[in-house]
């Protein structure tokens, strides 16, 4: 049993806001949902499956189902941080393949800016009942210093440099200049990245993603529904998911769960990394991208620094155009969770609806990959491979 060809992505929507002081969290979810339904040419009454994660207010999916007035046959609130929505595409395809639903809605929203959250530099306490908290929280783990330790170790083992990491931001900024909604639209240079203030060694300010309010939604449907609509057909070919954790103290910070989720997705899809015309790669930090590119098999382990250098990720010039909306690094990282927007830009590319300056010619195969939680402690990885039919 495989999901290959059993489900299509029929609608996507990225909320245009980047600071939402005048909107509630539920409202952002709902506006995103309605945007994706309109994109697909469906209405809320067509939705019979709903997927959300920890950013959804209330008890699992229930409050938002109530707010939006949905009648469902299937729901799933699997929470793996920012990777949740990539993972939900796979779960939605599974549910559709099993006949549990035929129009699945996935939503994401958040307002960390409006709420003044110290996203990157304040330790987050997930509650004292989480078994790891007492052994970690006192030491001040934050988002940025955890990813910084991954970068530090990667540099030590493989000779990766700050200049190589900077190329990832440079590529994202080249793409963001064409996105009118992007938070950071100025093209930056390697020098500007490595000379930006050090936040947590060895990550500089420009190695970090933006902090944005906003949201997004995805509609996954059965082949029958997708083919009845007037949108380009984007077929789900394969999906993979995997957790990575501390393995009882056998910690290795140089790789991510993409090492496992990637091969699962490629195998199900029947394609290989070199077949990909475009890749959306989770980009909370530059190091996140570099490690995942290696783990997904776009280059050998330890060769990521060379792979990303000299504009290799820039659309039009590089071999692997990535995050052509500007990604989390320059465009949008709604709710501090970048997985959903990764799927959206991959769908735009497959439909030929990306900005013409960054549209990959004949983009018929694309990958979206997300990581959620922390590469420095424990995280969920999810990979989805899609094809334009």
């Amino acid at each position: 049993m495989s999901i290959n060809g059993k489900a299509y992505i029929a609608g996507v929507y990225e909320h245009p806001t980047r600071k939402a002081v005048d909107k509630s969290l539920a409202q952002l979810h709902a506006e995103s949902a309605m945007g994706a339904l309109a994109d697909a040419g469906l209405t809320k009454d067509d939705v019979d499956g709903y997927f959300c994660a920890g950013d959804a207010p209330g008890l699992g999916p229930l409050s938002l189902v109530d707010y939006m007035g949905l009648n469902l046959k299937h729901m799933d609130a699997t929470e793996t941080g920012g990777s949740s929505y990539v993972l939900h595409v796979g779960h939605a395809a599974e549910a559709i393949a099993m006949g549990k639903c035929s129009v699945a809605l996935i939503t994401l929203a958040g307002r960390p800016r409006a709420e003044g959250m110290a996203t990157g530099t304040a330790p987050r306490n997930y509650g004292s009942s989480a078994p790891d908290v007492a052994f970690e929280f006192p030491f001040g783990p934050t988002v940025v210093n955890m990813y910084a330790m991954c970068a530090q170790r990667h540099m030590y083992e493989y000779g990766t440099t700050s200049e190589q990491l900077a190329w990832i931001k440079v590529a994202a900024s080249h793409h963001a200049q064409y996105n009118e909604h992007a938070m950071l639209r100025n093209v930056v240079t390697v020098d500007e990245v490595v000379n930006s203030p050090m936040i947590s060694d060895p990550l500089h300010r420009l190695d970090c993603c933006v902090i944005s309010d906003g949201g997004g939604a995805i509609i996954v449907t059965s082949p029958e529904v997708a083919k009845s609509l007037k949108r380009p057909l984007v077929k789900v070919l394969g999906a993979g998911e995997a957790p990575k954790h501390q393995m009882g103290g056998k910690i290795d910070l140089t790789y991510s769960g993409a090492r496992w989720s990637g091969p699962l997705a490629f195998e199900e899809a029947g394609v290989k990394p070199s077949d990909m015309k475009y890749a959306s790669i989770y980009d909370s930090f530059t190091i996140t991208v570099l490690m995942q590119l290696e783990d997904l098999g776009f280059c050998e382990k330890g060769e990521g620094g060379k792979f990303v250098s000299d504009g290799n990720l820039i659309a039009g010039t590089g071999k692997l155009p990535f995050n052509t909306d500007g990604g989390g690094l320059c465009n949008n990282h709604p709710a501090n969770r970048g997985g959903l927007t990764k799927v959206i830009e991959a769908v735009r590319q497959l439909r030929g609806e990306a900005h013409h300056k960054v549209q990959v010619p004949n983009c018929d195969l694309a990958l979206a990959h997300g990581t959620g939680g922390s590469l420095g402690t424990r995280h969920g990885s999810a990979t989805v491979i899609m094809e334009r039919e």
Binding site: A134, F135, P138, G140, A148, M149, Q152, Y156, P197, G248
Partner: protein
């Protein structure tokens, strides 16, 4: 830049970890040890994460090890060094490097245990490390 005193939140013990934090009050760093498969692990817990066995015990670490990775959060007030330290017994654990030059930390650097007091009176101290 030299390390300044950081305020450490007091860890909350639970039935699974009470013994660990009680030993910490005596400035002993304990690690998990599995009697079934012989593996040592961290953080300590009532089941072995390697073989799944429940016949586990706490054993005292020598408190000696080396820095596996580190980062100084320059934006914190005061800046501090977080690290993973690989103990000589095998497991790698999250900690802070204290009493150090924050601009002169290195992967592979030898460090030794020094417990740091936490903010609550009579609260358990936390295992931190200083350069040897």
């Amino acid at each position: 830049m030299t390390d300044q005193k950081k305020v450490f939140p007091t860890p909350i013990a639970d039935p699974d970890t009470e013994q660990f934090w009680s030993a910490a009050k005596d400035h002993k760093l304990m690690i998990g040890s599995c009697k079934s498969c012989g593996e040592k692990y961290y953080y300590p817990r009532g089941m072995c994460p390697h073989c799944g066995g429940s016949d586990v015990e706490l054993v005292q670490s020598s408190g000696k090890g080396e820095i596996y990775s580190w980062s100084v959060l320059r934006r914190a007030e005061p800046p501090f060094a977080i690290a993973y330290v690989t103990l000589d017994e095998g497991p790698t654990m999250m900690t802070n490097i204290i009493d150090c030059d924050l601009d002169n930390l290195k992967i592979g650097q030898r460090v030794e245990l020094k417990f740091s007091p936490t903010e609550e009176e009579n609260g358990a101290p936390v295992p931190t490390f200083k350069p040897v």
